[in-house]
């Protein structure tokens, strides 16, 4: 008996019988007569599709909510430009993730002028095509941003209970000039706000570091102090790393501390533009 005949014999022996085999191990699938689907595979597909009617079609979200200071002082020293670039890179970094365990979502609340506003509603990072540039002007209504963040985090339609613990990121270069203490307490003590991981960055010497310390709750990630625009980028790169490592982890609810990598002075590539 030649080899071909031997293979045929194996084929007829196994495939005429009602032996259940995984298709991924099936050498005959994909070509010739063996490509026909087995009865069991058909049953499995039919059954799986039936339960789709009862299950949520979206993956568990891992929300990241950024509260960004866009008061007038952010125009100084290229801070707002650095923040725009860092946010763009962060969203792109999240979007590029393989989404193995969780779907990273991003929302952006800005505070500058009279009150905070939602600049980017919470949405899956891979569906965000563009983050429109932030423009800095006016006062620092941080209390209003805390209220906006608390509203969002407590909204079970926006962030369902099946979501992994959200990440709140606060970035500011100045002192809040609205009533911020009560809204900060309300956010940090709210049922869901207290469970969120809260990171904070103080930009420059005028930032209210004590207040930011009250906001941050990850003991392994104290308030990060940015001395120059490039530090903003470092901070957001660390946030990106922390969140993406959680989304890849087998336990996405666990904390991942911020690890701030050094960016050398001559980090830019030698490009002609």
């Amino acid at each position: 008996m030649g080899f071909a005949k031997y293979q045929e014999d194996n084929f007829s022996r196994y495939y005429a019988a009602s032996i259940v085999r995984g298709r991924e191990h099936d050498p005959f699938v994909g070509s010739g007569a063996g490509a026909e689907e087995t009865k069991d595979t058909k049953i499995m597909q039919e059954n799986a599709s039936k339960l789709k009617d009862f299950t949520v079609a979206e993956a568990r979200p891992l929300p990241v909510i950024v509260m960004a200071d866009v008061s007038a002082s952010m125009t100084v020293g290229g801070k707002i430009e650095a923040l725009n670039l860092a946010l763009k890179d962060m969203v792109a970094g999240f979007a590029a993730e393989s989404r193995l365990r969780a779907e990273i979502q991003v929302g952006l609340i800005t505070f500058g002028g009279e009150r905070a506003r939602v600049h980017l509603p919470l949405a899956p990072a891979h569906k965000i095509s563009e983050v429109s540039p932030l423009r800095a002007a006016g006062r620092t209504p941080m209390g209003s941003a805390f209220e906006e963040a608390r509203r969002l985090i407590e909204d079970k339609d926006m962030i369902p209970s099946r979501a992994y613990r959200p990440v709140l990121v606060l970035v500011s270069d100045g002192l809040p000039n609205d009533d911020w203490e009560q809204p900060l307490d309300a956010l940090c003590k709210s049922e869901r706000g207290q469970k969120a991981t809260r990171f904070a960055m103080a930009i420059g010497a005028d930032a209210d570091v004590e207040m930011l310390r009250r906001f941050a709750n990850d003991p392994e990630s104290p308030v990060f102090k940015a001395h120059e625009a490039r530090d903003i980028h470092r901070f957001f790169r660390a946030v990106t790393m922390s969140v993406t490592s959680r989304s890849r982890s087998t336990a996405p609810n666990s904390n991942a501390p911020l690890v701030l990598a050094d960016i050398p002075e001559d980090d830019d590539l030698d490009l002609d533009f």
């Binding site: 799986a48 009862f54 979206e58 969780a102 869901r192 469970k195 087998t250």
Partner: protein, 233 residues
């Protein structure tokens, strides 16, 4: 006459890690009744798979009859103490686990308890019900044996399975969190409808296939579901 089916499968995340299934399942019939327990070992605890296996075994001994013979608080306390005694370690939190248990008597009386996340669905006298309340926090945050001492954290109910296809269904959060809340009754009826047409072994096989081919994208958790129902005749 009552019938039952149940299955547990390891989640893709633990499979990739080479970790054991942290869910546990026990389904036993006797004297025309059934006992069903499912437990979900808390993922962050190193020996939670042992805690969940012990929980369903000890529940069988203490809650099968205990839920009918004693007030719920006493039955639960006896069970909890027996679980603590059975643990091989003196650190219960390292073996923390949820527990959901249902005991059905031949006359149709059914008693159910739940500690921690997961979901209990039931149909009694044709009316559909959900025992489990809304989750307060986020995914994977739960009360558990070995962590929670309060009796108030337990949920308990009793009802009668009087009509054909009345039944009770227990599941761990690997399924529960991915179900559309408005369609829980449809999910309940679909699974009982399929199980009613199959033998217990075929029902188990069918359930296991559904859990392995779970449709929600990026699902990672271990999954366990069990059901007891009144047969059509």
């Amino acid at each position: 006459m009552f019938r039952a089916a149940a299955a547990t499968v390891i989640g893709p995340s633990h499979e990739a890690q080479g970790s054991p299934n942290q869910d546990a399942l026990r389904l036993r019939g006797s004297e025309g009744g059934w006992f069903l327990a499912v437990a979900d070992g808390i993922g962050s605890r190193p020996l939670s798979h042992m805690g969940s296996r012990l929980a369903v075994r000890v529940a069988d001994k203490w809650l099968r009859g205990g839920l009918f013979e004693r007030p719920p608080r006493d039955a639960i306390q006896d069970f909890y103490r027996a679980w603590l005694t059975a643990l091989p370690s003196n650190d219960p939190s390292s073996m923390a686990t949820t527990i959901l248990a249902a005991s059905v008597r031949e006359d149709g009386r059914c008693s159910v308890v739940q500690l921690g996340d997961g979901l209990v669905l039931y149909r009694s006298g044709g009316d559909f019900g959900v025992l489990t309340g809304d989750r307060a926090g986020f995914a994977n945050e739960t009360a558990a044996l070995g962590v929670t001492r309060s009796f108030g954290a337990w949920q308990h109910t009793s009802f009668v399975l009087s009509q054909p296809r009345d039944g009770v269904m227990l599941m761990t959060d690997g399924l529960a969190d991915d179900l559309v809340p408005e369609r829980l009754d449809g999910f309940f009826d679909r699974l009982i409808g399929v199980a009613a047409k199959r033998s217990r072994r075929n029902g188990k096989r069918w359930l296991a296939r559904q859990l392995r081919a779970w449709p929600t994208p990026m699902h990672a958790d271990d999954k366990t579901v069990g059901l007891i129902f009144r047969a059509d005749r």
